[in-house]
């Protein structure tokens, strides 16, 4: 009786470990042992496990607990924009509560402390060094909740700077890169965004500002409400935008280098949509985790892909920079994205860590 060898080979077969020779050996052994046909068949039948056994919801719950444990440890992870918003609101609500408790205690204590607090000179300039700075690396984004109740979503490779006393009489903020703003209404204190080429003044609204250094254009796209833009090189002019409009400012220096030279310095355009649906707005698509591009040159798309994926992209041949693409990336990895681009244009690429070279 060589049953032990049979079960060993059966095990290998079931585990997908058996070689062709071993399968042959098992076959001939089984032919010599017809008494084992039934148990062998039965074991093969019950070997497969029930696929419905795993509880998907339990995994989701465990993942949620994992992320909150990580956040408690101070690890920067796990805040989708929506979740982060609620998380910040909760934090804010708690802070406010404790502030009220403090104020109430002060009043009870004789009103002196509270009075001192209220009588603090208004509009006293904060120390010039007292700046808050929020920076996002390439490949990552964040949401910022400002003291005045406004909300800012900062896209990759961007920086937001504001005074420590922001919201206390002034609402001035400086942006390099791209951000979406949801500005809290406050008619007395306009919210002003400063960029290298243009300032945007608002009273309360939702809009997107894009001002990446090295990019030819600076733009502000309005979703709701109204905003007022002024260009640094035309201080007297005020451009008022209506919803679904955007202002596009072209850098003059870069423009002069451009042989065409007939692009306007500033123009107001309508927002573009990447689907029939008017909710699918190209200018704010990054908020939905989408990288949308329409008839965009490879060199400019590559700059956005660098920020999106946190990679560097170089062209070995300047001709390739002029290829044009239209499309949307959502869940794609950088490799899948490049492969998709290869379907419409002829180029090759090589990846070394986070360095990508595009060549013929």
């Amino acid at each position: 009786m060589n049953h032990k060898r049979i079960w060993e080979l059966m095990g290998r077969k079931l585990a997908g470990e058996a070689s062709a020779e071993e399968l042959q050996e098992l076959g001939s052994l089984l032919r010599a042992h017809p008494d084992l046909h039934f148990p062998v068949e039965a074991i093969m039948d019950i070997w497969k496990t029930d696929p419905g056994a795993d509880d998907q919801a339990a995994g989701e719950d465990a993942h949620r607990r994992l992320i909150s444990r990580m956040q408690e440890k101070g690890i920067d992870i796990g805040l989708s924009f929506e979740e982060q918003q609620t998380a910040i609101f909760q934090l804010e609500a708690q802070e406010r509560k404790s502030w009220w408790r403090y104020a109430a205690a002060a009043v009870v204590a004789g009103g002196l402390i509270a009075a001192a607090w209220w009588w603090r000179p208004v509009g006293k300039p904060a120390s010039p060094l007292a700046l808050n700075e929020v920076v996002t690396k390439n490949g990552s984004r964040t949401a910022v909740h400002l003291p005045d109740g406004s909300q800012v979503w900062l896209n990759a490779g961007s920086k937001l700077t504001y005074n420590k006393d922001f919201g206390n009489g002034n609402r001035d903020i400086t942006l390099t890169g791209e951000a979406f703003f949801e500005v809290a209404k406050n008619a007395e204190h306009p919210f002003v965004i400063h960029t290298t080429r243009m300032d945007v003044k608002v009273l309360g609204t939702r809009f997107n500002v894009r001002a990446y250094p090295g990019e030819k254009v600076t733009e502000a796209a309005l979703i709701q409400g109204s905003i007022e833009a002024s260009l640094h090189n035309r201080p007297g002019e005020r451009i008022i935008l209506r919803p679904a409009e955007k202002i596009v400012v072209t850098d003059e220096k870069i423009q002069q280098e451009n042989t065409k030279g007939n692009e306007p310095v500033m123009e107001v355009r309508h927002l573009t949509y990447y689907e029939e649906n008017k909710a699918a707005i190209v200018e704010t698509s990054w908020m939905e985790n989408k990288l949308v591009f329409r008839d965009e040159s490879f060199v400019s798309l590559a700059a956005r892909m660098e920020r999106w994926y946190g990679v560097t992209i170089r062209f070995s041949d300047p001709q390739l920079e002029q290829l044009r693409f239209t499309g949307v990336f959502a869940q794609e990895t950088i490799q899948q994205a490049l492969k998709a681009l290869q379907m419409t244009a002829v180029f090759n690429y090589s990846i070394h860590g986070t360095d990508i070279i595009i060549n013929q």
Binding site: V40, T333, I334
Partner: protein, 189 residues
């Protein structure tokens, strides 16, 4: 759990792009088997979850080096094992633990509904036979059948030889066959 390519892709995305979505997918994919594996050491579900969660936290914190990991699945199992052992050591419940101390819960066998080869009574016999396997045999049986791991991977995870795996699985199958053979003496259908 044998989706090698998918796991490789998640691993790459986590390591290179801090991709939280890939991290989540990897977690959801690996959590059920790793949790059961952890339970076989620490016995308590809540503790087991903490063990798996610790492993995933350190994975995220060391994500830059993650590309160097050859087989992420094996890495995760080994990390769960080590973290569970560390926990047991700290609790001083057990100073040393071998695979023979593991308590393994197996998914109950279920047969292809179209074939209905086996009677309810036979299924019960098989279940009893599997339940009666020694722990070492059970854990190997489980890692192969339920988790879809390769012999070499299991050898690395449990620190045993491939030959042991061959033997243990053969023992398990022989036992199941014996449970069935008792029935064979009567007409089956």
């Amino acid at each position: 759990m044998a989706h090698g390519n998918e796991i490789k892709e998640w691993q790459r995305r986590i390591s290179l792009y801090d991709d939280e979505l890939a991290y989540k997918e990897l977690f959801l994919h690996c959590y059920p088997p790793l949790l059961k594996f952890a339970v076989s050491f620490v016995k308590v579900a809540e503790v087991a979850e903490e063990v798996v969660s610790d492993v995933f936290i350190s994975l995220w914190e060391r994500r830059r080096q993650l590309e160097e990991v050859n087989n992420l699945q094996v890495y995760l199992y080994v990390s769960v094992k080590n973290t569970a052992l560390k926990y047991l050591f700290k609790q001083k419940k057990q100073v040393s633990i071998t695979i023979d101390d593991l308590s393994v819960e197996l998914a109950s066998p279920h047969q292809n509904p179209e074939q209905q080869l086996l009677t309810t009574e036979m299924m019960e016999r098989i279940t009893a036979a599997i339940e009666g396997l020694p722990p070492r045999c059970k854990v190997i049986f489980k890692l192969i059948r339920e988790d879809g791991l390769k012999y070499k991977e299991i050898a690395e995870i449990l620190n045993i030889s491939v030959k042991t795996i061959d033997n243990q699985l053969a023992v398990a199958l022989a036992k199941i066959a014996r449970a069935l053979n008792v029935q064979l003496k009567k007409p089956v259908r």
